[in-house]
C-alpha cells in the first residue's frame, strides 16, 4: 500500500494543470542512474500495448526498480491511478555534436480528451545546457494541434530547456509541446520515456489534504509568457474545466471566467407573462 506521503499534493496537481508537467530534480539515486545507463544501453525488454504497469519490467530490472520506487509510484498513482496501462516506451538518444534540433511537436496524434495519459521522462545522467535537454513549452497541453504541425515555431517566450542533474524525472501531460534540443557536446545524450494510460477515473487520486488551499487559485491563474492576451484567457478557462474534472467540483472557477459565460438564466418574471 502506497503511503499518502508519496502522493502528490493538490498544489502540485494545480501546477500540473497549469503547466502541463511536473519536474522532480535528482529524484533517482546515483547508483540506480549508473545501473540504468547500462540497462538502457543493452536494450530494454518491451511489452505489448495495454500491459498492466504492475507486470512491466519484471525483476531483475533496474527500470522496474526505479519506476516502482515509492516516490515515482506516488507520482504515477496521483496522475493516472495505481495500476495504469503501459502504452509504449523508448530510449531517446541525441547524437554528439549535432547541428539540428528536433522540430517542436506533441506526441501521438491530436487528442481532445479531458482524461489524459502521462509520459515520464527520465534523465539518467547530468544534462548541461550545451547538451541541449528536452525543450518544453509550459502550458501548451490544451492546444488542439496534431503532432508536428507546430514544427515552424522555433522559439517561444518562457520555453524551458531541460538542464538537470542525473536522476531527474519529468511527468508530462500527453499534450505538452516539446522537442529534443541539439546536443553540442561530444557525448551521446540519453533520455528514457514511458507513456501510461489511466484505467480509473482521474478523480482525486492524489493527497487532497490541501484541496482548499487558497494558493491553488493563484497557481491556476498564472499566465505563461507566450500566451496571446485573448487566448491566454481561454487557457485559464481550460484549466478550470480540468480542475472541475479532477476534483468533481462542478462549481469551481478561476476569476469567474467560466461562470460568466455559463450564466444563461431561464427564470421568467411574472411581469413578463
Amino acid at each position: 500500500m502506497l503511503d499518502r506521503a508519496n502522493l502528490l499534493t493538490s498544489k502540485q496537481m494545480a501546477s500540473f494543470v497549469t503547466d502541463g508537467f511536473l519536474r522532480f530534480d535528482a529524484l533517482v539515486p546515483d547508483e540506480l542512474n549508473q545501473a540504468a545507463m547500462r540497462e538502457l544501453d543493452g536494450g530494454l525488454r518491451g511489452a505489448p500495448y495495454g500491459t498492466p504497469f504492475s507486470k512491466l519490467y519484471p525483476s531483475p530490472s533496474v527500470m522496474g526498480q526505479i519506476l516502482r520506487s515509492p516516490a515515482i509510484q506516488g507520482i504515477i498513482s496521483s496522475l493516472v491511478g495505481p495500476d495504469p496501462l503501459f502504452d509504449h516506451h523508448a530510449v531517446h538518444t541525441r547524437a554528439a555534436n549535432e547541428t539540428q534540433s528536433q522540430h517542436l511537436h506533441g506526441d501521438a496524434v491530436i487528442d481532445t480528451r479531458m482524461h489524459f495519459d502521462i509520459q515520464l521522462m527520465y534523465y539518467p545522467h547530468d544534462i548541461p545546457l550545451e547538451m541541449g535537454g528536452t525543450v518544453l513549452v509550459p502550458g501548451s497541453h490544451f492546444r488542439r494541434i496534431n503532432e508536428s504541425d507546430i514544427g515552424r515555431y522555433q522559439n517561444m517566450r518562457g520555453q524551458i530547456a531541460m538542464v538537470c542533474k542525473a536522476g531527474t524525472i519529468l511527468a508530462l501531460h500527453h499534450g505538452i509541446w516539446h522537442c529534443g534540443r541539439r546536443n553540442q557536446t561530444d557525448r551521446i545524450r540519453y533520455m528514457y520515456k514511458i507513456r501510461l494510460n489511466p484505467t480509473v477515473r482521474q478523480l482525486k487520486l492524489w493527497n487532497t489534504d490541501d484541496l482548499h488551499d487558497p494558493e491553488i487559485g493563484q497557481i491556476l491563474s498564472q499566465r505563461q509568457p507566450w500566451y496571446e492576451w485573448a487566448t491566454g484567457r481561454l487557457e485559464i478557462m481550460n484549466r478550470s474545466k480540468m480542475w472541475r474534472f479532477l476534483t468533481g467540483d462542478e462549481s469551481y472557477d478561476t476569476d469567474y471566467w467560466l461562470k460568466r459565460v455559463e450564466n444563461t438564466p431561464e427564470h421568467v418574471l411574472a411581469s413578463a407573462e
Binding site: S101, Y153, R182
Partner: protein, 93 residues
C-alpha cells in the same frame, strides 16, 4: 547571378496589432549566414512587430482575423497572430 537572398522572420504577437509584443519567433536565413534552430534562443529578436519594421524588415503577410468555428469558440490551437517579414541579405560566396 545576384548575391541577394531572402531572409524570413516570423513573429508571433500577443494580439492582432503589429505593435504588440512578441511571444514567439522563427527565422529562416536564405543567405546561409545563420542557422537558427528550435529552442536555441530565449530572447525575442524584437520587443514588438513594429520594432522589426524599424530595423528594416518588410512585413509581407498579416494574419487574417477569422471568427472561431461554431462550437470551437473556447478551444485553443495554433498561435493566431503570425506576422511574416522579409529582408534581403547578401551571401558571402
Amino acid at each position: 547571378m545576384s548575391k541577394l537572398r531572402q531572409q524570413v522572420l516570423v513573429l508571433y504577437l500577443a494580439d492582432s496589432a503589429l505593435d504588440s509584443g512578441v511571444v514567439g519567433w522563427s527565422l529562416y536565413d536564405g543567405t546561409g549566414g545563420t542557422a537558427p534552430i528550435t529552442g536555441d534562443d530565449n530572447t525575442p529578436p524584437y520587443p514588438t512587430g513594429l520594432d522589426a519594421l524599424k530595423d528594416g524588415w518588410r512585413v509581407f503577410q498579416f494574419p487574417q482575423l477569422i471568427p472561431p468555428y461554431p462550437g470551437l469558440e473556447y478551444s485553443t490551437s495554433f498561435l493566431k497572430h503570425e506576422f511574416i517579414f522579409e529582408r534581403l541579405g547578401e551571401i558571402n560566396a
